[in-house]
Amino acid sequence: MSKDQSASFMIRFTQKIYESEEGSPNVQWRGKISHVQSGDNQGFVEFDRAVDFMQEHLGNVTQSTIEDKTKKEQEGILSKSFDMLKKFKDQAPTFVMDTIKDPMGQVENIQGQIKEQIKDVSDDLSQKLDVDHLRMASKSDYKEVLSMIKAMSKQIEKLTDKVDKLDKSKK
């Protein structure tokens, strides 16, 4: 079996907020991607360039591990590897570029998703706990609940005493 091969990448984004020559506020994202194992690096402002960089290094990883295979096997592996890289190239930049172009929008999207999740959980709990009924509770309801809790506490104290006495008598 061939040895597992890894490629690690470090990506740094630097945000530049500046006023254009016309005086309007602007934002620019500069990126730097490094391939850790070789020390190669590449600057970019378009994420496609970073993906190309990754694709090149990942292709090299595949190439280096199949040199002992037959030509036909090599072609098969390379073709599958390139399929994966193509999917990556087609899809990866979208999320990153959306974030870069509209960071607030992306944050809102994520917040929306979280709210949706919370709402689902909350709806589920409401059905189980009948939250609406609790919301309608009046002051007198609270007093009643409080007095019931106090009565229960006293009962628990009495029971605890009894259990303690039983324990002692056993010893």
Binding site: K3, D4, S6, S8, M10, R12, K16, Y18, E19, S20, E21, Q28, R30, K32, S34, V36, Q37, S38, G39, G43, F44, V45
Partner: protein
């Protein structure tokens, strides 16, 4: 607690520690002031293991399997366990050559199946660098002069990239990147604060930042402003030209308008 006291605490902790580990710009370990030689370390894996424990110092104990996965990824479990044991023995032997058999190790703490580097009696330059910058961020607005002193101390600690001999090992990459960015920002902040009093110092700091990252436009701006204060027009122009060339080659973009404004001012445009 005063700022002085805190900065002095950070400085003094190096004097008081019996184990001093330098990771920035090179790897050096001193026990009671004496440097451990490469012969004393023995195998490279012994050095790698202590560097790995230094890098993971905030993780409060690493399971032995986590260590084996990263440092002996091609070994079987049994081989990994054996190699880890050998490397641990190598570290303990190098750091505590006079430790008695069965006596607990002072610096490498073992708790069941986890290992970590002790915090007691140990000084690490990267940790002191972090502490100094944390202290500076707390005091930046209260006392600019003290803030400058702390930044100066931090930039002196940063002698180069983190564990440079492990630049191609991915377990060092995150820490190296994190420290690099902190160092660049510290150099720029200090350079900006010394502009009026000592523009030559600002130029030196900008150049240090550019050694770490030659595309850091803020460093070019700092350098241009400092040269302008020194009335050195040719150097302002030259710095701007280098900045434009580097940004064009690396990103295919022009300098930002605020960089161009400094150039235009000097050119009298």
């Amino acid at each position: 607690m005063s700022i002085d006291h805190n900065l002095e605490d950070i400085k003094r902790s190096k004097q008081e520690a019996s184990l001093v580990i330098e990771t920035l710009g090179g790897f050096h370990v001193f026990v009671n002031g004496r440097e451990i030689s490469s012969k004393e370390w023995g195998r490279d894996k012994t050095v790698q293991l202590i560097q790995f424990l230094v890098t993971a110092r905030h993780r409060r104990g690493l399971h032995k399997e986590q260590i084996i996965d990263r440092l002996w990824e091609d070994s079987t479990v049994d081989e990994g366990m054996r190699d880890l044991k050998v490397a641990l023995h190598g570290i303990n032997k190098a750091l505590e050559p006079n430790r008695k058999p069965r006596e607990e190790a002072k610096y490498i703490i073992r708790q069941g199946v986890t290992y970590q580097l002790s915090e007691k009696d140990v000084w690490i330059d990267a940790e002191a660098f972090d502490q100094a910058l944390a202290l500076e961020s707390l005091n930046i607005n209260e006392n600019p002069e003290k803030s400058k002193q702390i930044l100066r101390y931090a930039t002196e600690l940063y002698k180069g990239s983190y564990l440079p001999n492990r630049a191609f090992d991915d377990w060092t990459a995150t820490e190296r990147e994190r420290l690099q960015l902190l160092a660049i920002n510290a150099m720029i902040s200090l350079g900006e604060s010394t502009l009026q009093s000592n523009p030559t110092e600002s130029i030196r700091l900008a150049q240090e930042a550019l050694i770490i990252d030659p595309t850091w436009e803020e460093a070019y701006r700092l350098q241009m402003t400092a040269y302008a204060l020194k009335k050195n027009r040719p150097q302002v122009i030259k710095t701007y030209q280098i900045c434009s060339k580097v940004l064009d080659e690396e990103f295919g973009i022009d300098p930002l308008p605020e960089t161009k404004r400094i150039y235009d001012q000097v050119m009298g445009i």
